[in-house]
């Protein structure tokens, strides 16, 4: 089976130290005001009294989905799912920075880089993995809440965790992208992913613009075929002309032309 890198997160271990966010930011030089990963929480729960108040933290990042709506929104293929490791990547040189993919991610995992003017997001630390190292967030986490590996390799830690535990995925009912971050047991919050939607021009292109262009090209092609057929197979001598040349463009009758 093909490699699919994934994360299995035990969110009950997360203490909201934000080590993963800081490590990622430094490692990937993420500009001010933007993050490639996050820690969500479900708000403070005082139901057991102030002393026993609790809060649940949920670390996350791009989920390298099996049905990546971001890839589907990208016109150029700059955003693509790499067959080799199942990671959804951005080809920086092919990205035109149109931003079509940004609202197409239910998780808000993408942002437009304010300096590079192209889209940026988590790539499971491609450059670190090339050196045989784990992603920065995984290696940094003090409670080891984030486990990382190939879920299609039955011998990997993540596969075993998936086999031995009940896991959940956080999805928006209207846009189930089949994300590759699994949460052990239960997690919260669950209601934050939005409906994935490509911007209007991209949707219009697929909905009718492509068909319209084909229709217009088709009509003109039929016109050309009609003219070609007539030219090749029909003897249509010009009236008042002995020769059978199909020389076009002559007045059929002599017409007085008014000169300005």
């Amino acid at each position: 089976m093909k490699t699919q890198l994934a994360m299995v997160v035990d969110s009950s271990l997360c203490i909201d130290c934000k080590g993963c966010m800081a490590a990622c930011k430094v490692e990937n030089k993420v500009p001010e005001g933007h993050w490639r990963n996050w820690i969500k929480n479900d708000g403070v729960d005082f139901s057991m009294g102030e002393t026993f108040s609790r809060m649940h933290f949920q670390p996350g990042n791009c989920m390298h989905c099996d049905v990546p709506t971001c890839v589907h929104a990208c016109p150029t293929g700059a955003t693509y799912k790499d067959e080799k490791d199942g990671v959804v990547k951005v080809d920086e040189r092919l990205c035109i920075g149109c931003g079509s993919c940004i609202p197409a991610c239910p998780y808000g995992a993408r942002y437009r880089h304010p300096v590079k003017k192209i889209v940026d997001k988590c790539d499971f630390c491609d450059h670190r993995r090339a050196r045989g190292e784990l992603p920065a967030c995984v290696i940094t986490c003090p409670t080891k809440a984030r486990a990382f590996g190939d879920i299609n390799d039955p011998d990997s830690d993540v596969s075993r965790m998936l086999k031995d535990n009940k896991t959940v995925r956080v999805v928006n009912r209207e846009s189930d992208t089949r994300p590759n971050i699994y949460y052990m047991g239960a997690t919260a919050p669950l209601n934050w992913p939005v409906r994935a939607q490509a911007p209007t021009p991209i949707r219009w292109w697929g909905d009718w613009a492509k068909q319209l262009v084909w229709a217009v090209v088709g009509i003109n092609a039929l016109g050309v075929l009609a003219m070609l057929g007539k030219q090749l197979f029909v003897n249509d001598p010009e009236p008042g002309h002995e020769s059978d040349s199909t020389d076009g463009g002559k007045p059929v009758e002599t017409e007085e032309t008014d000169h300005e």
Binding site: G99, G206, A209, D236, P237, D247, G248, G249, T257
Partner: protein, 256 residues
């Protein structure tokens, strides 16, 4: 007056050539055609998304194969697009004396004469001359209809109907292309970029549709050979000019 008579009458005069295109305008036409076809092929190859790709994924694969990946394909598309734009900018500015009369000619329409030409020429090219008389029998002179293909000027209105959208379309393609190229260099707002992508695609599609007719008319249609040759030599025989562009012929004859 028919070919044979006129040739008999004054062979030497009728075979004389008339200046139709300058060397520079011929170069610009073929430069434009080469850029256009190159940009068309590479541009379609830039569309990876299957919903948007009008030809099919095989075209995208083939183009990316030839140019060594999508990023390089984008780069050559942008470079040739910029070259195309710059060369035209220089041409239009430096040769305004040649360009302005061309634009004037192309954008001047004589509605009554030209609509009749379009209808009748269209019928003649597809159904034949007989259909013109049938139509005349049906209409019996209503709507001012006559079974005639009216005389035309330097360009006939069919040529103008291609030239106008291809000039205006060219401007739209350049502007939207520039917006997309600028997107990852300096633009902050992405909404114009997303609209530019759609408008770029639509405009190219429409001009391409017209191009099918243009290329047929220019290189295959019966009787149009001299025009094709003139796109290399710059000259057409007088008898051709008289038959196809009578108003222009008369104008030149009258020395205007």
């Amino acid at each position: 007056m028919s070919d044979e008579q006129s040739i008999q009458k004054d062979d030497a005069e009728e075979k004389e050539q008339m200046e139709r295109h300058t060397k520079l305008s011929i170069f610009m036409h073929w430069f434009n055609a080469a850029c256009w076809l190159f940009l068309l092929a590479t541009g379609i190859g830039l569309i990876r998304n299957a919903d948007l790709q009008p030809v099919g994924g095989w075209w995208t694969d083939m183009m990316r194969g030839i140019f060594g990946g999508g990023a390089n394909l984008l780069l050559v598309h942008e470079i040739v697009g910029i070259l195309w734009t710059l060369v035209f900018l220089v041409y239009v500015i430096a040769k305004a004396k040649e360009v302005v009369p061309f634009l004037k000619e192309v954008f001047t329409i004589d509605p009554k004469r030209d609509v009749l030409w379009l209808v009748n020429k269209g019928i003649q090219m597809t159904l034949g001359y007989k259909a013109l008389y049938k139509l005349d029998g049906i209409l019996k002179g209503r709507f001012g209809y006559k079974p005639v293909i009216p005389d035309q000027g330097f360009y006939n209105v069919g040529q103008k109907m291609f030239a106008i959208p291809s000039i205006l379309g060219g401007v739209v393609i350049v502007v939207t292309g520039a917006i997309m190229t600028a997107s990852n260099v300096m633009l902050e707002n992405t909404a114009p970029v997303q609209w530019a992508i759609l408008i770029h695609f639509l405009t190219v599609g429409f001009v391409f549709a017209g191009l099918l007719i243009h290329v047929y008319m220019a290189s295959i249609a019966a009787g149009e050979r001299p025009a094709f040759i003139s796109m290399f030599t710059g000259k057409v025989p007088q008898d051709y000019a008289m038959h196809h562009h009578k108003l222009w012929y008369d104008e030149v004859r009258e020395g205007r």
